[in-house]
Every structure is written in structure tokens, then in C-alpha cells.
Subunit: 226 residues, 2 copies
């Protein structure tokens, strides 16, 4: 595989969802234009960086006005491919899977949630946000009859690799993974790890750093070396 010729740098990709979010919020304001300076205030990125990021995709701004909020939002939507319709299923109807079923973010990003699967007989036929939970034993049959683009994986860690293998065998090309175990997938499968506890990790680290700085302690942790 390897990168495509005109692959967008990962670092820019990582900022696009942030631009998207703020432009979406700006839609409901009365403003028509937004400057790179204002976007800098909102996002925390420098205005220079924002102009550079946007210029990677084209020329969107208007001199002495800034960026047309609606137009730029539409462009970001196109860049991210939100104008293309994609079908999503959820595997694992536990607490997290059910919460994802109620997530309001799908439609605006071009996703449609079409089914939820679980192993637990008690959950099967239960209707969550208008979607019926079905037995995971139907998975292959369902995927044969429905073109599914992305599978969200919210099963217990122990089941994750097996389900993944089944998904891949059935032709799924993109997995949104909430299990915290390392999954093996072929190189042409898009695997996006959603580390749900990442924010908590960072907060713990920052609070720890603050504490260390206040104590004045500068510990070296070295160990192991003989």
C-alpha cells in the first residue's frame, strides 16, 4: 500500500475535524465571515497555521474580510467527504454501543446507521433509537445484502479479533474501533482507534506535571539498565 501521491499530511487531517466543528458552530451565529485570527482564538492554532492549512486545499478567503463561513464549511465538508453517503453498523450493543446508537453526529457527516448486532439473546430484537438489534450470527448474511462502509466495534476485548476477522472476510473496508486491544487487519483496511480514555490520560498527566512543577521535583525515572 503506502501513502498516495497527494495524501493530505496527517497533521492537517488531525486539525480538520476541529475546523469542521467550529465552522459548524459558527453557522448558527449571525456572522457571515470569519478571519484566520478569529479562528485562531477559537481553535488555539495560530492564524498563520490556519491560513497555511486552508491554502493546502485551495483559495477560500476574501482579502480584508476573511473566510465566508458558509462557503468554507461546505468546502470542509467536501474535503472530508461528508457529501458522500456511507452506511454504518455497530457491533456490540453494550452500554457504549447503545450510546453510539443515539449519537447525533452521523447524518451531518454523511453516515447512516443501519443496524446493530449483539451476541446476547436478551438484547436481540430490542429497538434502540429506531434500530433493531439483531444477532451477530446474521452478520455475514446482512453484509452480503447490504453495502456497509464502516463497522463500529464496541464488543469486549476478548471477542474483538474474531469479529474483526469476520468483518474483513465479509468485505468491510473501514473499522471504527472502541475496543482497547490491538487488532490485526490487512493493510488495505482503514482502522481508526478511538481511545475513549485518551482525554483522561492526558488530564492525569497534566495534573501530575503541575504537581511536579510545584514541588520542584525533577525526578529521573531510570531503571532496568544493568
Amino acid at each position: 500500500m503506502g501513502k498516495e501521491l497527494n495524501a493530505i499530511p496527517d497533521i492537517i487531517i488531525s486539525r480538520l475535524p476541529v475546523y469542521y466543528q467550529h465552522l459548524k458552530n459558527l453557522q448558527s451565529s449571525s456572522k457571515e465571515y470569519v478571519s484566520s485570527e478569529e479562528l485562531a482564538d477559537l481553535t488555539g492554532f495560530s492564524s498563520s497555521l490556519i491560513r497555511k492549512d486552508l491554502s493546502y486545499f485551495g483559495t477560500f478567503g476574501r482579502k480584508s474580510y476573511g473566510y465566508d463561513i458558509y462557503c468554507l464549511f461546505q468546502q470542509i465538508n467536501i474535503i472530508m467527504g461528508f457529501n458522500y453517503k456511507k452506511k454504518l453498523i455497530i457491533i456490540g450493543a453494550g452500554h457504549l454501543g447503545q450510546a453510539l446508537a443515539y449519537n447525533k453526529g452521523y447524518n451531518e457527516r454523511g453516515y447512516q446507521l443501519i443496524s446493530i448486532f449483539d451476541k446476547n439473546p436478551k438484547l436481540i430484537d430490542l429497538v434502540i433509537n429506531d434500530i433493531e438489534i439483531q444477532s451477530v450470527s446474521n452478520l455475514e448474511r446482512f453484509l452480503e445484502n447490504n453495502k456497509v462502509d464502516v463497522a463500529a466495534l464496541t464488543v469486549p476485548g476478548a471477542a474483538a479479533q474474531k469479529i474483526t476477522d469476520r468483518l474483513v472476510a465479509a468485505g468491510i473496508k473501514a473499522i471504527w474501533d472502541f475496543t482497547e486491544v490491538p487488532l490485526k487487519v490487512p493493510e488495505d483496511i482503514f482502522l481508526e482507534e478511538q481511545l475513549i480514555n485518551e482525554g483522561l490520560c492526558k488530564l492525569s498527566l497534566k495534573m501530575n506535571q503541575k504537581r511536579l512543577n510545584q514541588d520542584g521535583t525533577t525526578e529521573d525515572l531510570s531503571c532496568g539498565q544493568k
Copy 2:
């Protein structure tokens, strides 16, 4: 404010949760040592980068063996401050808030979930994973009587800023934010945005890139410029 003198570079911080996760998973393997090359296979980072990251904190490896898995895991725990106990509350007992109440990741990271708050009278007194939901009108009183380190915010966007202001006024120093609206907080508050749909955004973009590459289309999106 500004960065502290010995602040860990953000780019390294962003990789620590990944190291943590893989080292945790390695605990349950029979292996005792892991090399930077093996960690590279697991994480997708280069072995050189991994050695460099770890050397930022100290000297952990053993020549010709690699890293003692247990020891390194402990060190990462210390770096991230997981050995310090932190108290967590959840504001907003909707589907996501309830799912977070069942999250199993707290204890291993030093967090203890001690309460859940909601406005909806129908939810109050409901017990979720042994934690009773209480009225958000008790928030200030509760925070006076309990030293809370982090508040997870899963309220509707419209309520987010108001609740945030109350949390800050009551002395909360760290917020784990799941609302997708921009929050204003004083500079000394740690605010961690958990964009729940980030993975979906990236998957959409990658599938779109793949499609564009296959089509051979190299569109320039420019607009707006007069």
C-alpha cells in the same frame, strides 16, 4: 501561564496513551521483555522514535534484551500520574453519560467515579453501576464537601457553557468535555476535548481520498476569492 520549563512535548504526550495501552495488553502475555522493534510493530511508530520517546524520561532498557514489560508499564503509569488518586464526576446522565458510568478504564488510571448529576427529575435517584444520579442543583454543595479533580461533561451543547461556569466557580480544575461546542474557561483550567466523532471524520476523509485517487481527479476547490 504558558508552558512549564520541563513540559513534555505535546507530540510525546499524544503517544503515551498508546504505549500505555500496548504495555497493558502485553502484561497478560507470557513475554517478559519487549524490544523497540516489537513495539514499533504494535504501535506503528518507528523503533527509533520509540527509543527516543522513552529516553526522554530516563533509561529503561536492557541492551540486547529490550524493555522489561512490567517495569516499563509501571514507569509509564508513574509518568502519567496514574499512581495518584483522582476523583471524577459526570455531569449529564444521558446515553453517553450513562455509558461513561460503566467505563472500566477509571481504576487502572487512578480515577474514581464518585457521582453523576442530571437535570431531568426522571433520572434522579436512578442508580447506574452503583452510582446514584443526583440533581445538578446539588452540584455546588457536593463540590464543597468533596474534593473533585475532574468533571466529565456530557450535557447538551446548549447547557455546556453555563455548567462549565458553575464548575469553574466551584473550583474544578480539569474538564473532560464531550459536548461539541467551544467552551470558554480561564487559562489555568485543563480542558480536554473528546471529539467522539473524530474517528468517523477521519474514516470518511480517508475513504474519500481513496476514491479521488482511483478517479484520478485532482480537484482544486478554490472559491470565494474575488
